[in-house]
Amino acid sequence: MGWLRWKEEAKFATTMVIDFPDAALEAPTIEKKEATSQEIEIPWNVVVHNDPVNLMSYVTMVFQRVFGYPRERAEKHMLEVHRNGRSILWSGVRERGELYVQQLHGYLLLATIEKTV
């Protein structure tokens, strides 16, 4: 299931209803499931923004250290930041994203967390 579809369903339906097509045979069984706040939470992006002062080699090293990315992937993101002004480094639950942003700020990179919407 894609994130967008999951998100839309989570937004509007906190109960899950299962009904059977041939209801004439027996009464439909209705099951209700409470969705936890974690389940309905939409994913967040960790974004790194361009900064003319930070060295390209330094930014690549930070991506490798913080996200554990191999050098090629880290360089790809670094170049994306350099050329496009920003790059999405990671997507997922907010708490972990905040931790990544804190680590990136520890290395003095311009990083933010933002909703995927």
């Binding site: 900064d51 003319p52 002062v53 930070n54 060295l55 080699s57 330094y58 090293m61 905040e98 942003v101 804190q102 700020h105 520890g106 290395y107 003095l108 311009l110 990083a111 933010t112 967390i113 933002e114």
Partner: protein, 165 residues
């Protein structure tokens, strides 16, 4: 000036008094002091302004942690810089020995200094890329030279760390 790897340390030899003075200024330059632009850059917002709660909590819980982290890096390099208190001839060249265990602190402190200076003087992209600009002239030019010199040292440290890993 000559930089080389020597056992478990990086050695900057033949540091002339001018460059030695610039290095001595790293901890001081890393402090935002009276520059709101530098403070804003070193402690940038973690999200868009609309995320008011997140930004407010960040200031309360995360910024003090970052401040401690940055302070710890500058304290480490301050100890290394004590080597530059030349006791011999007043204008003699010096040697600075950076233990490999301190390289992360150096990268961080040099970065703090570069970002704080660049934010304070609001250097443009063009200025930051113009490596042929004369360092002589105004305080602004000297600060730009400082940013580039610290960047050169960062590059060297990174290269050595990469070779070491």
């Amino acid at each position: 000036m000559e930089i080389c790897r020597q056992d478990q340390a990086l050695e900057i030899r033949e540091l002339d008094p001018f460059l030695a003075e610039l290095l001595r200024q790293v901890p001081e330059s890393a402090q935002p002091k009276d520059s709101p632009a530098a403070e804003e850059r070193l402690f940038s917002a973690p999200a868009a302004p609309e995320e008011k709660d997140l930004c407010a909590e960040w200031k309360v819980y995360v910024v003090p942690e970052l401040r401690r982290l940055f302070q710890s890096a500058t304290e480490t390099i301050r100890q290394d810089l004590e080597q530059l208190q030349c006791t011999g001839k007043p204008f003699a060249n010096c040697t600075l020995r950076i233990p490999l265990a301190h390289t992360d602190a150096w990268l961080n402190a040099l970065n703090q200094a570069r970002l704080a200076i660049a934010a304070t003087y609001q250097f443009s992209d063009h200025e930051l890329c113009d490596h042929y600009r004369s360092p002589l002239g105004s305080r602004r030019d000297l600060s730009l030279f400082q940013v580039n010199f610290y960047g050169f040292l960062q590059e060297f440290i990174l290269r050595e760390m990469e070779g070491n890993s």
